[in-house]
């Protein structure tokens, strides 16, 4: 399936940045209305595309890789408003899910949405804002501690990869970018020479604000005096892409998002090697174009590795399904679909993963959140899992199975709600064991452990013709509720 089928289209366009009156956009007669903010400024339309794609589109791997990238090179709708800009940003991640991480970093750095989010738009050499430079290094490329090729800490401790002087050098090197042309306002735009706020396209150079000094970067790369913004950016990208940390740092996070929270060092090293070589071969096929940072090669290495496959995963394998993937996992297994409306401000907020609204550039959870009670394991998704979310995960199942989910909401374009369809399973209702096994395979890929399986079968059999006239459908719901509640489903391995 081509990219076009999954590109985001919901929400409105760029008129918010072409308002030449002194009236606030949503107070203009042409645009005023209950849904003005939602459809022009917020990320809510994107949640419609997100969950429709995630529950219905065929290109699930592209969706999943883009979702992983979205949680590494983070922007949010708390700090940036403009539906069309956020949509452009995510479409860029969808487009580049299997291209090259250097290209991702370049597009992200030049995105006016990121430019607003981390203040690199109109950054001025006179007193540069350090925000984007710091997070480019810390979160998007190399991390704060020197790593071995297998992602472990060099020397077993944190040896810093850079200091604040480095951050400032990168900030200086990335000064001199402004919004793309296209925005207009009633009161002009500043600073002098800069374009008005506008999210349609990549940022463009504004040389008068670009630093003219020599700035040493990492890995012996140096930004020369009198560079252009564009040449300086290429050097910035070269320096981080060739840094020995980037392959294991990004590779490990892709493993954590797609497969397992605690990959073995050898697994990380294999993925990092594919990132560096830009190529990965398995089962007679070769993935990637052979250029460092190739994401097709890296993702193939993540998913086709022996540690990601096999029928007997190690005790430490797997990851807690994050709320978003728990939602979509249940829906897809139960013939369901969602138009996204109920999974944003309702269930997204309840379970602390309202897509496109992570609290900060640090995403919904940190990659190194310690698993409570464990001395060594991390569980990024445990960073938003707690007593309250434990209960609410169960209540999400109650919502889908016993409350009937959500119906189409008026005012949501093309709405169809959030529903599952358990009717097809009623054919197996008379045989509780067969029913439970069928659902277990859909939920976990295997039958459940025998004592859990027996418990659920017993509970399913509690419904019968004498207890309920709709015992077949009740049996299916009873089975589905309990199967999707199991630790075996909630922790994917």
């Amino acid at each position: 399936m081509g990219i076009s089928a999954s590109r985001y289209t919901a929400g409105n366009g760029d008129a918010i940045h072409k308002n030449t009156s002194n009236t606030f956009f949503c107070d203009l007669p042409a645009y005023a209305g209950a849904n003005c903010w939602r459809d022009w400024f917020s990320s809510q339309p994107m949640t419609w595309d997100f969950y429709r794609n995630a529950t219905q589109n065929a290109d699930q791997l592209r969706q999943r890789v883009a979702f992983a990238l979205q949680q590494i090179v983070v922007v949010n709708n708390l700090d940036v408003e403009g539906t069309y800009g956020l949509r452009n940003y995510h479409n860029t991640l969808l487009d580049n899910a299997f291209t090259n991480y250097r290209q991702v970093l370049k597009k992200v750095t030049l995105s006016p949405v990121m430019g607003d989010f981390l203040n690199n738009a109109n950054n001025d050499k006179a007193a540069p804002n350090e925000n984007y430079a710091r997070e480019l290094l810390q979160l998007f490329s190399i991390g704060t501690c020197e790593l071995n090729a297998d992602g472990s800490l060099k020397g077993g401790t944190c040896s810093p990869t850079y200091n604040n002087e480095t951050v400032r050098n990168y900030a200086y090197a990335m000064t001199g970018w402004t919004y793309p042309a296209g925005g207009t306002t009633a009161y002009g735009c500043w600073p002098t020479g800069a374009n008005c706020q506008y999210y349609g396209g990549d940022m463009v150079p504004v040389t008068r604000y670009h630093d003219t000094s020599v700035r040493p970067l990492l890995g012996g790369v140096s930004k020369p005096a009198n560079s252009t913004p564009a040449t300086a950016l290429e050097l910035v990208l070269d320096s981080v892409m060739q840094h020995p940390n980037t392959a294991p740092f990004i590779g490990k996070q892709l493993i954590q998002h797609l497969v397992s929270s605690n990959p073995s060092p050898a697994y990380v090293q294999r993925v990092a090697a594919a990132f560096i070589a830009g190529s990965y071969s398995a089962e007679g096929r070769t993935f990637g174009a052979g250029t460092r940072g190739d994401l097709a090669a890296t993702v193939a290495a993540v998913l086709l590795d022996a540690e990601a496959r096999g029928d007997t995963p190690a005790r430490r394998a797997g990851k807690l399904r994050e709320p978003t993937l728990m939602f979509t996992g249940v829906l897809r297994a139960l013939n369901g679909r969602s138009d996204g409306e109920a999974l944003a401000w309702w269930w997204g907020e309840v379970l602390r993963q309202h897509v496109f609204r992570p609290p900060s550039v640090f995403n919904f959870y940190p990659p190194d959140y310690p698993v409570p009670g464990s001395a060594t394991m991390v569980g990024p998704q445990f960073g938003i899992h707690n007593a309250n979310s434990a209960l609410e995960r169960l209540n999400f199942l109650t919502y889908l199975l016993y409350w009937g989910g959500s119906t189409a909401e008026a005012g949501v374009p093309g709405a169809f709600g959030t529903t599952v369809n358990t009717v097809p399973f009623e054919a197996d209702a008379a045989d509780a064991a067969k029913l439970v096994d069928r659902l277990s395979v859909l939920a976990t890929g295997a039958a459940l452990p025998s004592t859990t399986r027996t418990r659920i079968i017993t509970a399913v059999e509690a419904f019968n013709a004498s207890s309920s006239s709709t015992w077949q459908s009740e049996r299916v719901k009873q089975a589905a509720y309990l199967v999707f509640a199991t630790p075996a489903f909630q922790v994917q391995r």
Binding site: L118, N119, N123, A126, A127, P128, N129, E130, N131, R134, Q138, T144, C145, T157, C158, S159, N163, E165, R168, P313, R315, A317, G318, P359, S360, F362, P366, Y369, V371, P372, G373, A375, G379, I384, H385, N386, A387, N388, A390, L391, L394, N395, T398, P449, R455, I456, A459, A462, S467, S468, E474, Q478, Y481, L482, A485, P487, A488, Q490, V491, R493
Partner: protein
């Protein structure tokens, strides 16, 4: 080892849950909150950590008012400088608060507010010369200075090692064997993690803290298929799992059920509803509209006030709470149309207003002396603004402590010398003169002051705060 630790912890809670059922009767709000003086141990104490995520600009939170230092401040802060006349004066201390913190002026007047200056992660007392001479790998240089995630970890963990897994709140709860883990109404912050358990994260007033399928309505408990559903649900988490993360997941689920059985009714109560506490509702009245406390920090502190009042249900004569407010990473647009309005002003107003209401609620329940609230934050912000009306990441920072036990009316610690390249500035060279202050008091000393009041022995302090011994006899800062 891990599984055993989890089990012990769980058993501890379950025992308490059992006691509740036996002594007070579970579930009905009427017997959870007694009228009049709530039942609790005479020596009850609570600590309330308020984490300001993003790095609060402490230089615009507490500002020196003497002519010399105010002049240094306004000369560097320029458009970000608060006008001297706008500051909320703190008596003869020589300092004033951001005008958005006006609600705390009466708390200062009562002697129940203490600003603490230039606190931050430190391995040991560190001079600029020592810091400049230390290699980056030296213990004297805390890990990953100026990084949000790492400095949050250092503040929350009371450490200079960014790889520390547990928080100082969690370790203190464990060392003092508090009845509950750290109770958080503000997410899973590392502050409340111990080697044994996660913080107990509770939802806001009005929320259902429970699984619907475990409900106790009679139509559920009298219908066999639904009884079977609930039994199977509890049963599947009681089984050993074949995967480590699943094992942890199942344990957290069991804990959640036990805590829900005990606390759900208390948690759900909103202002004015049956079971609400008039003293708390009245104190929070400025922040209550249409039966709801204002979203954010006000609602969190209201919930904490309720949990303190409901100690007969919550249990324990020592309790550590955690609340948080985000948005302090003011790289840009720190101020609005004037320096008195905008993002930072709004955030501080939320802090000041809610802290004042919380303190008033504690006073009204005669619990002010037993409850101490304090701020933490990633780091301070640069003295020099950047080009986008904002400030960047720094190190030492100003903090506020509020409570009846606070030795208020005074300031504590040493305000940074407001000189770029001066004795407190990490910088020497022209590129680095943004005013990032080397702390003169450590997170460990700050935490030790709080925990010492809370009842920790010296030995316990040394266990919880491993760097404290590096500060010799200066173990506490004196504000309690």
């Amino acid at each position: 080892m891990k599984a055993r630790a989890m089990t012990m912890n769980r058993r501890h809670w379950l025992k308490l849950a059992g006691l509740m059922g036996a002594t007070a009767g579970a579930g009905t709000i009427g017997n959870l909150l007694l009228p009049g003086a709530p039942a609790r141990a005479a020596d009850y104490k609570a600590l309330v950590c308020i984490f300001l995520y993003g790095g609060n600009d402490g230089l615009n939170t507490v500002v020196p008012t003497d002519a010399t230092r105010y002049g240094q401040y306004s000369a560097v802060r320029k458009t970000l400088a608060l006008p001297q006349a706008s500051l909320v004066g703190l008596g003869s201390s020589g300092y004033g608060l951001h005008p958005s913190l006006a609600a705390l002026a009466p708390v200062w007047a009562e002697g129940r507010l203490a600003p603490v200056f230039n606190v931050g992660p430190l391995f040991q007392p560190t001079t600029k010369a020592q810091f400049r001479a230390a290699p980056e790998s030296s213990d004297l240089v805390p890990d990953n200075l100026f990084s949000h995630s790492d400095q949050q970890v250092l503040w929350e963990s009371g450490s200079t090692d960014a790889l520390t897994r547990t928080g100082w709140g969690g370790r203190a709860a464990q060392a003092l064997a508090t009845a509950n883990p750290v109770i958080s109404v503000g997410g899973n912050g590392r502050f409340g993690l111990s080697a044994l358990s996660a913080p107990l994260v509770l939802p806001e007033p009005g929320a259902t803290f429970g699984a619907y399928e475990l409900g106790t309505d009679s139509w559920r408990t009298s219908y066999a298929p639904l009884v079977a559903r609930a039994a199977a649900l509890r049963g599947i988490y009681s089984e050993a799992q074949d995967n480590d993360l699943a094992e942890v997941y199942a344990g957290m689920q069991r804990d959640a059920f036990a805590m829900s059985d005990r606390l759900a009714a208390l948690i759900k109560v909103k202002p004015g509803q049956a079971g609400s506490v008039a003293a708390i509702d009245n104190a929070f009245a400025p922040l209550i509209a249409n039966g709801d406390v204002a979203d954010g920090l006000p609602r969190q502190l209201y919930q904490i006030a309720k949990l303190i009042a409901g100690n007969a249900t919550v249990q324990g004569n020592r309790q550590i709470f955690f609340a948080q407010l985000g948005g302090f990473d003011t790289h840009a647009n720190q101020i609005g149309g004037s320096v008195l309005v905008g993002n930072h002003a709004n955030l501080l107003k939320e802090v000041g207003d809610s802290l004042a209401c919380f303190h008033n609620a504690m006073k009204a329940m005669a619990l002010a002396d037993a409850v101490t609230a304090f701020t933490q934050s990633d780091f301070g912000r640069t003295f020099t603004p950047n080009n986008s009306s904002g400030t960047d990441h720094a190190w030492g920072n100003q903090h506020l402590v509020v409570g009846g036990a606070v030795k208020g009316g005074l300031t504590y610690g040493t305000y940074p010398t407001l000189a770029l390249g001066g004795p407190d500035d990490v910088g020497v060279d022209s590129w680095e003169l943004q005013g990032r202050w080397i702390p003169t008091s450590s997170v460990d000393q700050y935490a030790a002051t709080l925990l010492s009041w809370f009842g920790a022995t010296d030995a316990q302090l040394d266990t919880v705060l491993p760097n404290l011994r590096n500060f010799g006899s200066a173990r506490t800062l004196g504000f309690l």
